[in-house]
Amino acid sequence: MANVQVQTMTSRERVLAGLRRDPVDRTPVCNPTSVATVELMDLVDAHFPEANRDPRMMARLAATGYTELGFDSIMPVFSIIQESSALGCKMQWEQKDNWPTVRMREPIWRDVDDIRIPNDFLTHPDTACVIEAIKLLKMEFGDEVAIIGKTMGPWTLGYHCFGVEPFLLMSLDDPGKTKLALERMKEATIQFGVAQIEAGADALTLPDHATGDLVSGEYYDRYLKDMHAEFVDLIPAPLILHICGRTVDRMNSIAETGMAAFHFDSKNKPQESMDIIRDRISLIGNINNPETLYAKEPEAVREEVCANLEAGVHMIGPECAIPLQTSIENLLAIPRAVRDWHAGHADN
């Protein structure tokens, strides 16, 4: 909650306080997911796909979230493929204007016994790139801005490594085998997460796509809630859970995991979401990407920012990795709207 008595904070202090739900000088503007755009790539000459694979380019492009856009955080992991690449998945790296993607139609695992975290998991070029980029960012920015790393959860790794349909069918046909698969895959989540913290990350985004667009809330309780609570104990940094899509039906369970924050999608109303989590977890979000940030004008962005602020959402940011063609103008509208809202509510 913004408190006019709180003296001016650095961006890093602001984000860390937001993750603890401590008083802040103003609501942090935070990106647990990527704010890289084609315009920003051109600005700093760090383009996809190379910026996903070269630590200096990765750091340079990620830093623009703070230096150009005015966000309080820097998050250098633009896509969701690093761990899967290091596990052996086949990748499609694409071009400057598209995301690298895992070829999920060519899965690397068929059965639980196939699961293997290779010895060189953290020294694979794609995981090592992230670790190095975080070190570079920490060296450059010190304690000025929050550096947020990212480590994929085991449910998402299941999609990547087994294929979405085989993994979901396994979850129905054989819950025991699915739980064992998640147990084995979680080692990748923990290893990569800890490595990023040791490199200097202040917090970690943990995407684990058990979304209401695919699976029930009961699935979250059955397969992930306890494991996410375990991550809180095993990974020594504030964790930001990210799940796309409809998640209102599982927010109560998410709030019970002990995670620091939940990064939520625009399919969930801010006030309804705040009413469910009841201050047990910070909420970050939830500016709509495809309809608002990508397709509309700054005024529409401002409206959504204000709706979140009015609801008391703890930190404001896009709902997910933003479309690469999003205009800088629309992204600048987010911190601008937050500042203006606080200026207008200074007496409250």
Partner: protein
């Protein structure tokens, strides 16, 4: 007018009572199942429960009893998928359950398809489906394909990362009156517009109805791209396709 109690199969009666809320859908399904024979209702019930083994066994039995393949498809398999589609749309079931039901449908269609092909029975229409260029996501597209096939359409699945030429070639080769494009990424959505332009340039635009869908896609976007329709989910995709061929949804 048919009543719920006219339906012999207890599972079907329960499915309609518990999961179908819209009065028009209740009326249609009660009317449908009240007139289908008990063995067809058993097939539907097994499909709804995702029991591919039972669907396999009962489909074989129905054929052995000289029940017409088209009746088995329409009154057993498609009728069952109709209830699955409603339950999915209304969030009573989710993707894992739909996948299991689709697997059960496929088990039955393994016997039915060759018979219908050999006898020249035509599907409702042929639909070409694909995820656009640069996009490797296909779960949404696949759900639409399952529902389309489950509703009597023949579907040519082009997979993912589909180029303009591949869409055009498939529509021409299969003489498909309907094309469906899916995108999950905002970065690849514009390729829908490019593909539609390619159909215009190839002088084929008037020959095909184009529907688009995918998580970031909206009605407004579909209109801007020049698509004929937007399907917001798998069941909507079927309704759109049926609308294109003027069949009651």
């Amino acid at each position: 007018m048919a009543e719920l109690t006219d339906i012999v199969n207890e599972t079907i009666r329960r499915e309609i009572e518990e999961y179908i809320e819209r009065p028009d859908e209740v009326e249609r399904n009660v009317g449908l199942f009240a007139r289908t024979r008990p063995l067809m209702q058993e097939i539907s019930a097994a499909l709804i429960e995702g029991d591919d083994g039972t669907v396999d066994r009962l489909t074989k039995r129905a054929l052995d009893e000289n029940i017409d393949a088209l009746e088995i498809m329409d009154d057993g398999l498609i009728a069952g998928m109709g209830i699955v589609g409603i339950k999915f749309r209304d969030n009573f079931i989710y993707v894992p359950e739909v996948l299991a039901c689709a697997r059960a449908m496929k088990a039955g269609m393994t016997y039915i398809e060759p018979i219908l092909s050999a006898s020249g029975v035509k599907p409702l229409a042929t639909v070409v489906m694909g995820t656009v260029k640069g996009d490797l996501h296909d779960i949404g597209k696949n759900l639409c394909i399952m529902m389309l096939r489950g509703s009597g359409f023949s579907v040519v699945d082009l997979g993912v990362d589909t180029s303009d030429d591949e869409f055009i070639d498939a529509v021409e080769e299969h003489k498909a009156p309907i094309l469906g494009m899916s995108a999950l990424l905002t970065t690849t959505m514009p390729n829908m517009g490019r593909t539609i332009e390619a159909f215009i340039d190839a002088d084929l635009r008037e020959d095909v109805k184009i529907m688009v869908g995918g998580a970031p896609v909206t009605q407004e976007f579909a209109d801007d791209m020049g698509a004929d329709a937007y399907g917001k989910d798998a069941l909507d995709c079927v309704a759109v396709a049926k609308g294109f061929v003027s069949v009651q949804a």
